[in-house]
């Protein structure tokens, strides 16, 4: 029996649209109904654009009827984390300081997905300016995990993860600066990809930490992730840090398997660092990879233990500069004050959240004269060490695996008072951003302790997306959890 429309992956929906079994308007209406149903429990969206998506869906149906479908995915709606700038549709980056701002342009990701015919379904919730690991730092409201609404969906792309996991949309875009796509994907039991830095254009992504930010897809299947990533990837002349190559064809050879592949297990990430239930699932995943023909061996990445402190200097330093423009002068609400400095201060003090202000202060301090070398400079040297450690490891192995998150989804409020414990949610994901390499989280079932999803992280060398996707696909197909009843939250 086929699952309900809203549970079907995009690739399957594409077949239905192509065969004429289904129209984009029908699909969009089904998704709207599903979201109407689940949204009160997961609060994934900051803004739904139902009218707009239905219009776009009707246009897609028209094209398909005339045999002019833009792509096989023409007419399959997509949700965007509200950090992607959308023309004529308000964009907040999850912060009240941008409330009311309507951008005059589209992000490259949005532009390319629109050009592929994907209707925009809405803008999803996030931690303010993508700073956080639970979506509790949203300036508007927290989002909730479809597996247990008392728990967080992870973050900062928590809204996108929650709505995809709940069957509200087949796919959504997130951004990942230190794990913000992979960690919520793991906590919500879906697929999340952080591509090689530069594979997806950052143009039109509200910047958090420019040298680390990278957009990535959140989907329920590996194949959908490959499609969505390929749709937006490739060189963009508007982003000087984007790769020179066009989009990789990730579907080609996706089913090739991993027989004979050498896969490294990170020595430093073993043992006590993770919850026992997570460890059990991850160990089982390693066994599965071996059964699929991969050769596992331990790799040592000693510099990884310095990744969190280095990250929490580099990211805040860049953020302190990137967020300077939110000063009440050009957009967002403005607080009245007798002079310009007081106006800037009052506006920023009132409208930035506590976590954003904490990071702005850390970053400002790290860049100050006299402290630069000791903090920002040293953190950059750690970054170089991480790159070198990985390079050495990839001389021996093709891919590296480890948990995506040390724990399953935690309860709302559990970590908000303790920033350090929140920062440690990203202990396995942060080194990847510092190195600029691609990584993805793929579901590996639920923890025997609490029945919540666990994600396996697969890390590839720079531009190694194809081999990463093949491994993820082989694992997903063999596990058979995705698409099964137990692979769906009973929301």
């Amino acid at each position: 029996m086929k699952p309900e429309l809203h549970w079907r992956p995009a690739t399957e929906l594409a077949t239905g649209l192509d065969a004429g079994d289904l129209t984009s308007v029908e699909l969009t209406e089904a998704l709207i109904r599903r979201c109407d149903d689940v949204e009160p429990r997961i609060a994934a969206f900051l803004q739904r654009t139902d009218e707009l998506s239905l219009e776009s869906a009707a246009a897609a149906d028209g094209r398909r009827a005339r045999g002019e479908a833009l792509t096989p995915w023409d007419g399959i709606p997509v949700a965007y984390k509200d950090i992607f700038v959308t023309r004529d549709v308000a964009t907040t980056a999850g912060s009240r300081i941008l409330e009311g701002w309507v951008p005059p342009y589209d992000a490259t990701v949005v532009e390319r997905c629109s050009a592929a015919g994907l209707p925009m379904f809405g803008k999803t919730n996030l931690d303010q300016f993508a700073m956080g690991s639970s979506t509790e730092h949203s300036g508007f409201h927290p989002s909730r995990n479809p597996w247990d609404p008392a728990r967080v969906p992870g973050g900062s792309s928590g809204g996108s993860a929650a709505v995809v996991a709940a069957g509200g949309v087949p796919w959504a875009w997130g951004t990942d600066t230190g794990g913000s796509v992979r960690q919520p994907a793991a906590l919500c039991g879906i697929v999340g990809v952080k591509p090689t830095y530069g594979v997806v254009s950052r143009y039109g992504m509200v910047a958090f930490a420019s040298s680390l930010d990278q957009a990535g897809p959140l989907t329920r299947t590996v194949e959908d992730a490959a499609v969505l990533l390929s749709t937006a990837a490739g060189h963009d002349p508007r982003d000087s840090t984007s790769v020179p190559d066009g989009p990789p064809n990730l579907l080609e050879g996706l089913g090739e398997g991993i027989a004979g592949k050498r896969i490294g297990v990170v020595k430093e990430f073993g043992g006590e660092g993770s919850q026992p239930g997570v460890r059990a699932r991850i160990d089982a995943a390693y066994g599965r990879l071996e059964r699929l023909g991969a050769a596992l061996e331990e790799v040592s990445l000693p510099s990884f233990k310095h990744a969190i402190p280095a990250y929490y200097l580099i990211a805040p330093a860049e953020a302190s500069s990137n967020l300077a423009r939110y000063d009440g002068v050009r957009y967002g609400p403005r607080h009245a004050a007798p002079d310009i400095v007081a106006m800037n201060s009052k506006t920023r003090a009132d409208l930035f959240g506590a976590e954003v202000k904490r990071r702005i202060m850390i970053g400002t301090y790290a860049l100050s004269a006299g402290y630069y070398d000791a903090y920002y400079g040293k953190a950059q040297r750690v970054r170089t060490l991480i790159v070198e450690d990985l390079k050495r490891a990839y001389e021996r192995v093709d891919l590296i695996v480890c948990p995506t998150s040390p724990t399953t989804a935690f309860k709302l409020g559990e970590r908000t008072e303790d920033p350090l414990s929140m920062y440690l949610s990203d202990i396995y994901t942060v080194p990847v951003n510092l190195a600029g390499v691609p990584a993805m989280s793929v579901p590996c079932g639920t923890s025997p302790d609490d029945g919540l999803p666990v994600g396996l992280q697969i890390i590839a060398p720079v531009l190694g997306e194809r081999s990463m996707f093949r491994a993820a696909y082989a694992f997903e197909q063999d596990l058979g959890w995705t698409g099964s009843d137990e692979g769906r939250p009973s929301l």
Binding site: W101, Y105, V206, R238, S321, A324, D327, Y331, Y372
Partner: protein, 500 residues
């Protein structure tokens, strides 16, 4: 270079322990005349309806990213080469962080570590000899927008509100920083004039101080001769012409000297020059310790300059003012004063060069006509060479008519006056106005006969050997012909008749 500097040091600095010496360093900003802005495709122009030449990038809208204008890098590198700098093979952009509403991102993309060009020098010809001026760095950055403060005095402090115009925001701006090698206000003025001429010759900027495409800030301090530490550094701002640079620094030097001589302490401060009064006044006495928190711009990749690229730029540099002056001295034998005047701007230099090449005689004559006559007319009319209706070749034609004896020098000045208004050729003006000299020997001989007959006394004196009296007779001939006679020919005829 040290030797040069010492050679030019003023005598007073070594003469007496209580004499004072002045140290000046300049920070000069040049707006590049690239077609588009530094990091986006918006057009570069002066003025215009506020906020019409903007886009998400130069407005610093969330999500926007900069893309480097490579032409601006080329222009900056060429400026660096003109100042004999070493060109970085790898250069970085950096963010300079500070809050000001005219700066859309509240950081300026600039350069800090690894600027495009460093360690240059320029030799300045001064009246007291050559002065070597070190160039610390030449770097590239983006310009800010402009604020209009409404209400009060027009300054931000007492205004009611401010309006922002971001048309200028993101224009490519080059910063040139000198070592504190200048010792007088006049040297500083000369340096700015030379810099303007160089940048103009390169064709990379309009260098219009009144429009702000060339901006000069100066650091000036006076100390007792022999002291190792520099005196309290005073930054002077708002000098809006090359002349103002000289005036402001002269005033400031004098102010500091008087203060030191009176035993007063000088404080580190920023002072504002007032064009009208010719004085400076304190803008900020308390020195703010700005911390710009520079760090490498993560949105841009390092710029790598290949040696071949730098070499090709070097090979294709146009002739610079110093080279041009040397060549003029050598090929035209022009006196130094004329050279300085004619090489001061590209327009003048090109004009002179064109006139000189269209002229067959000694270029010095053409130079004289330009400096003594044409500039006078232009000044009177209040226009520049660009609007002058006389073409260089036309001036050469005029001088040629004088050489041929077709008209006298005095007539030529009159002809120039007509040409200045109509733009006609000299020959045409001469024809139309009937100004041609009478050079027909038969016609003139008859007049000469008449004059000799009417002035027999003077004629006799000439016959008796009093040759200076011949001028009187020439004058009589000129009067009879209403000035149209060729005086040279008349003199010859008189001599022949009276030498018997």
């Amino acid at each position: 270079m040290d030797g040069l500097r010492r050679g030019a040091a003023q005598p007073m600095s070594v003469a007496h322990p209580h004499t004072l010496e002045t140290t000046i360093g300049l920070e000069i900003h040049v707006e590049l005349a690239t077609a588009s802005k530094m990091f986006c495709g918006c057009k570069v122009a002066f003025g215009g309806e506020p906020n019409t030449r903007t886009c998400p990038v130069c407005l610093g809208l969330p999500g926007s990213l900069p893309v480097v204008n490579e032409r601006a890098i080329e222009f900056t590198t060429r400026i660096g080469l003109a100042f004999n700098c070493s060109i970085a093979s790898r250069s970085l952009f950096a963010r300079k962080n500070y809050f000001y509403p005219d700066m859309p991102k509240n950081y300026q993309i600039s350069q800090y570590e690894l600027p495009l060009a460093t360690q240059g020098h320029l030799d300045l010809d001064t009246e007291s000899g050559p002065v070597g001026v070190g160039i610390t760095r030449v770097h590239l950055e983006e310009d800010t927008g402009g604020s209009l403060h409404i209400g009060g005095s027009g300054r931000i402090a007492d205004s009611e509100y401010s309006l922002e115009d971001y048309n200028r925001a993101g224009t490519a701006l080059v910063e040139i920083v000198t070592e504190p090698d200048l010792q007088t206000a006049e040297q500083a003025r000369l340096f700015v004039a030379e810099l303007r001429a160089i940048v103009e010759a390169l064709g990379v900027s309009d260098v219009r101080m009144e429009e702000g495409s060339l901006r000069v800030d100066a650091n000036i301090s006076v100390r007792r001769a022999g002291e190792v530490e520099h005196g309290a550094k005073v930054e002077v701002k708002n000098m809006n012409s090359i002349r103002s640079v000289g005036r402001a620094l002269e005033y400031e030097e004098e102010r500091q000297r008087k203060a030191l001589e009176a035993g007063e302490m000088l404080v580190q401060e920023t002072r504002h020059f007032d064009e009208k009064t010719g004085t400076t006044s304190s803008l900020r006495t308390k020195e703010y310790a700005f911390d710009y928190r520079y760090f490498p711009e993560p949105d841009l990749v390092p710029f790598e300059a290949a040696d071949e690229w730098i070499d090709s730029l070097r090979a294709n540099q146009p002739e610079l003012p110093a080279e041009r002056r040397l060549r003029w001295k050598q090929t035209y034998g022009l006196p130094p004063g004329d050279v300085v005047v004619l090489a001061a701007s590209k327009a003048t230099a090109v004009w002179f060069e064109a006139a000189a090449s269209a002229y067959e005689g000694d270029a010095k004559k053409v130079a004289n006509w330009i400096i003594a006559d044409l500039f006078g007319r232009l000044n009177e009319a209040g226009i520049g060479l660009a609007e002058c209706r006389i073409a260089p070749a036309q001036l050469a034609g005029l001088v040629g008519l004088v050489d041929d004896g077709a008209i006298s020098g005095k007539q030529a000045k009159e002809v120039l006056g007509h040409m200045f208004v109509t733009g006609d050729d000299a020959a045409q003006v001469v024809r139309e106005k009937g100004l041609e000299q009478e050079s027909d020997t038969a016609v003139l001989a008859a007049v000469v006969e008449e004059v000799i007959a009417e002035n027999s006394e003077a004629a006799d004196k000439v016959r008796a050997g009093q040759l200076n009296t011949i001028g009187f007779l020439v004058g009589r001939v000129m009067r009879k012909t209403k000035g149209s006679a060729n005086p040279k020919l008349v003199t010859e005829l008189l001599r022949a008749k009276l030498s018997g």
